[in-house]
């Protein structure tokens, strides 16, 4: 009897004893379908988790961020990326607190460090965009220059600056704050403080700036109503998916718009008066009269604009990142814009650093004017590092050098000129004059409070961290990426666990069912033996019966598995995003979105291994009942009729 004849007999048996055959086919199909689903979905979860982070876990763990100069009251708060607690300094003297070239060289020399780079910040007075979010004007957090070697932590896109192309930017979502005014249709508003409250001179209360619903500082204690200040802020809702790739315009510099309302102290609080058109025009004329003799007013008032392209989103910290070459260009343009707007009229030294504030350069350090740092009633606006700040143009509420609010009327009014560089003597800070030649910029020492460090390999991380701490660069390695490794490990365990269960269940299923087939087929065996079928042929008959049934069960199982995977992809995606994805987002700065289709992928490559295991199990296990059948006494078999 040939192999094909044995197969034909088995198929005839299969069709005749359909319900009996299902005893093996159905459980086998379920086992195979479950196997395919589990193998594929664990693979999909693993891929989705990996795909969420930019680059790889290894890449993420190769970048460390070292910082110093802890300062409070920054809207962005703290960053815990890469294990270092990072606070961005504000109003600090970088020559005293920042990292310098020596620090960069020292860290670069540590074994295992591929590159160290001090992050330079863009020193400008303001940045805003009106087309990042349609219909909204948002101020943007300042930019830091980030080498492309480190950008891989935040984006997988090209992070190089090409002249004429939009500048790639890794945007900080913490700064997506829209400012607006709320007058409720009134021209004047009043705010009453509780009696025990005291408003300190120079406090931010004077600015009338409050936030609504954001994490920024709430000014002025004791307000007796919900948010009485005219200036309001609110967070802008955004969708990372639509932002990535967006090209938008940023206006940098220009004269800061003066506050369009006045703030007058009263016996019990503050009174706000919204300027009329005429009053605003008068304020602007006053500003123009002061500035125009020295600068082309229209030119100095206008910002310079650049096109940017979002290549990544960071959701903690305070800074956005651009390529260093772009940062240097913008910085240079910012200063040059002021120089180009200058008229021929010289500025008296007495006016420099008092009426006209800018950035001071003493031959070593390059920082904002000291007057803008004083608590003498000068109003401060938040968020700008290393730059001079806007000063209210109200004459009564603000006075430079004044000790309290409500200085004498007609007090000196100061203007911050974007890009103005004032030369001062390092020893006594005395004003020397304007700087109009920007060639000195290339000699300004590299100073910054944050240093990015890239290590050669994640395996070098512990040794590098140890060396950094030994060298005096304190770094607490609290990497949260363990969550990712734990996930991968758990998924692998789950896959291995299932594989083992698959093997055990397959053995039990095939062994049990086939033994049952043999015990119920004794008469059939006896007859075949009486007709002259040898033991070998009997063995082959039952062996191939097991194999045929297993293959049919396998085929049905694969089909059911494929359909099931397609059906559960949507719920799997929802579960992943809502549960696992959240944990991953917490651990990483930047995450990519995960698509629905990720969970409909079928991992045939891994399932091939299970298929081979199943085949081997079938071959081995089926031999046992087949051998029993072959050795069944024909007389005993026929006696069982």
């Amino acid at each position: 009897m040939s192999f094909w004849q044995i197969l034909v007999i088995n198929f005839k048996k299969l069709f005749f004893y359909k319900s009996k055959a299902l005893f093996l086919v159905i459980p086998m199909a379920i086992l195979v379908a479950l196997g395919l689903i589990i193998v594929s979905e664990t693979s999909n979860i693993r891929s989705a988790a990996q795909g969420m982070i930019v680059g790889t876990v290894e890449e993420q763990n190769r970048v460390l961020e070292l910082s110093k100069n802890p300062m409070a009251n920054l809207p962005g708060g703290t960053s815990t990326s890469g294990g270092a607690v990072r606070m961005v300094s504000f109003n600090a003297d970088p020559t005293q607190n920042g990292y310098n070239q020596k620090d960069q060289d020292a860290v670069s020399a540590i074994a295992g460090v591929q590159k160290a780079s001090i992050l330079q910040a863009l020193n400008v007075n303001q940045m805003a965009s009106s087309d990042l979010f349609a219909g909204k004007k948002v101020s943007l957090m300042s930019f830091q220059g980030l080498d492309s070697a480190f950008a891989s932590k935040y984006t997988s896109s090209d992070f190089s600056y090409q002249d004429g192309q939009p500048i790639p930017v890794i945007l900080n979502a913490s700064g997506f704050i829209e400012e607006y005014e709320q007058w409720n249709g009134k021209q004047d508003m009043e705010m009453t403080f509780p009696k025990a409250a005291a408003i300190n001179a120079g406090s931010t209360a004077a600015s009338g700036m409050v936030t609504s619903g954001t994490s920024a500082t709430i000014n002025a204690n004791g307000s007796d109503g919900a948010n009485p200040f005219p200036n309001q802020q609110r967070a802008v809702n955004f969708d990372k998916n639509t932002l990535i790739g967006k090209v938008f315009t940023v206006d940098i510099g220009g004269l800061q718009a003066g506050q369009d309302f006045s703030t007058t102290p009263t016996e019990t609080g503050l009174k706000f008066h919204k300027y009329t058109t005429e009053e605003l025009a008068a304020t602007d004329k006053k500003q123009s009269d002061a500035i125009a003799p020295y600068w082309d007013y229209a030119k100095i008032k206008a910002p310079i604009s650049y096109k940017f392209k979002v290549v990544g989103i960071v959701e903690d910290g305070a800074m956005s990142y651009v390529p260093p070459a772009a940062l240097n260009k913008i910085q240079h343009d910012y200063y040059q814009h002021q120089i180009d707007a200058r008229t021929t009229k010289a500025i008296d030294k007495a006016l420099l650093g008092s009426t006209f504030l800018g950035q001071n350069y003493d031959g070593v350090s390059f920082k904002q004017d000291i007057f803008s740092m004083m608590g003498g009633g000068a109003t401060l606006s938040t968020g700008m590092m290393g730059s001079a700040v806007a000063v209210s143009s109200t004459t009564t509420a603000v006075a430079v050098g004044g000790a309290s609010l409500g200085g004498p009327p007609g007090a000196l009014t100061s203007y911050t000129i974007p890009g103005l560089i004032i030369s001062v003597k390092r020893t006594d800070s005395s004003v020397q004059g304007e700087i109009k030649d920007l060639s000195f910029l290339s000699t300004v020492p590299v100073i910054g409070d944050t240093m990015e460090i890239k290590i050669n390999s994640i395996y070098d991380r512990p040794a590098v961290v140890e060396a950094m701490n030994q060298a005096g660069y304190g770094f607490q390695d609290n990497s949260k990426t363990n969550i990712f490794r734990d996930l991968q490990r758990n998924l692998s365990l789950a896959t291995w666990g299932f594989s083992l269960a698959f093997v055990v269940l397959s053995i039990i299923l095939i062994g049990f069912v086939m033994s049952k087939f043999v015990s119920e087929g004794k008469r059939e065996i006896g007859v075949y033996r009486a007709l002259g079928m040898s033991k070998d042929k009997i063995r082959a008959l039952f062996f191939w019966q097991a194999l045929v049934l297993t293959v049919i069960g396998y085929g049905v199982g694969v089909l059911v598995g494929i359909v099931s995977i397609k059906l559960i992809s949507a719920p799997m995606h929802t579960w992943f995003v809502d549960v696992l994805g959240k944990s991953i987002k917490d651990a990483f700065n930047v995450v990519n979105p995960v698509s629905n289709s990720q969970f409909s992928l079928i991992d045939f490559a891994t399932f091939k291994i299970h298929s081979v295991i199943l085949l081997v199990i079938t071959l081995v296990i089926a031999l046992i009942p087949a051998d029993t059948a072959a050795n069944t006494s024909p007389i005993e078999a026929m006696r069982g009729e």
């Binding site: 033996r529 009486a530 079928m533």
Partner: protein
């Protein structure tokens, strides 16, 4: 020629031994028709199993054309049963999932014939026994008599030297039984030896020789 020489068969059931056959000896000539009679439990079926190579004697020999069956390995015994013997059982023992034609073809397939040849031969045999209309019928679609006719056709598939029939009419009514007996008459005429185990004297009458077995011993061996 088949020679049974001092054959004894003892079965062990736990600690209890049961002697089914005790020192049985006789010869079956080529083309001979032999009825083996005896009461239930006398050893008739045991003797048939030994003659058909389905069992081996505890002592003694069964010689087929001079060859000792006890010395045959599984392959030789299987070949012997396939080529030299045709079995007919009381309960027909057709494979329920094969058609009448396929059931008859099985011994030919076991013998290594192609499917086409085997099915053609099966059709001829079934036609001979008036079963040509039942070629594609499954056993459950046929009556007892029809099934036994198929079984007889199957037994003749490889043109064996001997047919071994164990109570072939035991489950048939009189008419069907007569039909089967008529088939046996034809087989005998063709020169095929027939050994029928039966306790029905009507069946014994169709055989030229009768051996009576009681309590495992041959008590009578008589030619007609």
């Amino acid at each position: 020629m088949i020679e049974v020489k001092s054959v004894t068969r003892v079965y062990q059931q736990g600690s209890h031994k049961f002697k089914a056959l005790d020192n049985v000896s006789f010869v079956i000539q080529k083309g001979e028709s032999l009825a083996i009679e005896g009461p239930s439990g006398s050893g008739k079926s045991t003797l048939m199993h030994l003659l058909g190579g389905l069992d081996t004697p505890t002592s003694g020999e069964i010689l087929v054309e001079g060859h000792n069956l006890s010395k045959f390995g599984d392959k030789e015994l299987s070949q012997f049963r396939n080529q030299a013997i045709g079995f007919v059982f009381q309960t027909f023992n057709l494979q329920s999932y094969l058609t009448a034609q396929q059931n008859v073809a099985v011994p030919l397939l076991i013998a290594g014939k192609s499917y086409k040849v085997a099915m053609a031969r099966a059709e001829v045999l079934l036609q001979r026994f008036g079963m040509v209309d039942r070629l594609k019928y499954l056993p459950k679609q046929m009556s007892g008599g029809e099934q036994q006719r198929v079984a007889v056709a199957r037994a003749l598939a490889n043109e064996p030297n001997m047919i071994l029939a164990d109570e072939p009419t035991g489950n048939l009514d009189k008419d069907n039984a007569n039909t089967i007996l008529a088939m046996f008459d034809e087989i005998i005429k063709d020169g095929t030896a027939l050994v029928v185990v039966t306790h029905d004297s009507a069946v014994s009458k169709h055989c030229k020789r009768t051996i009576r077995i009681e309590k495992g011993e041959v008590v009578k061996d008589k030619n007609k």
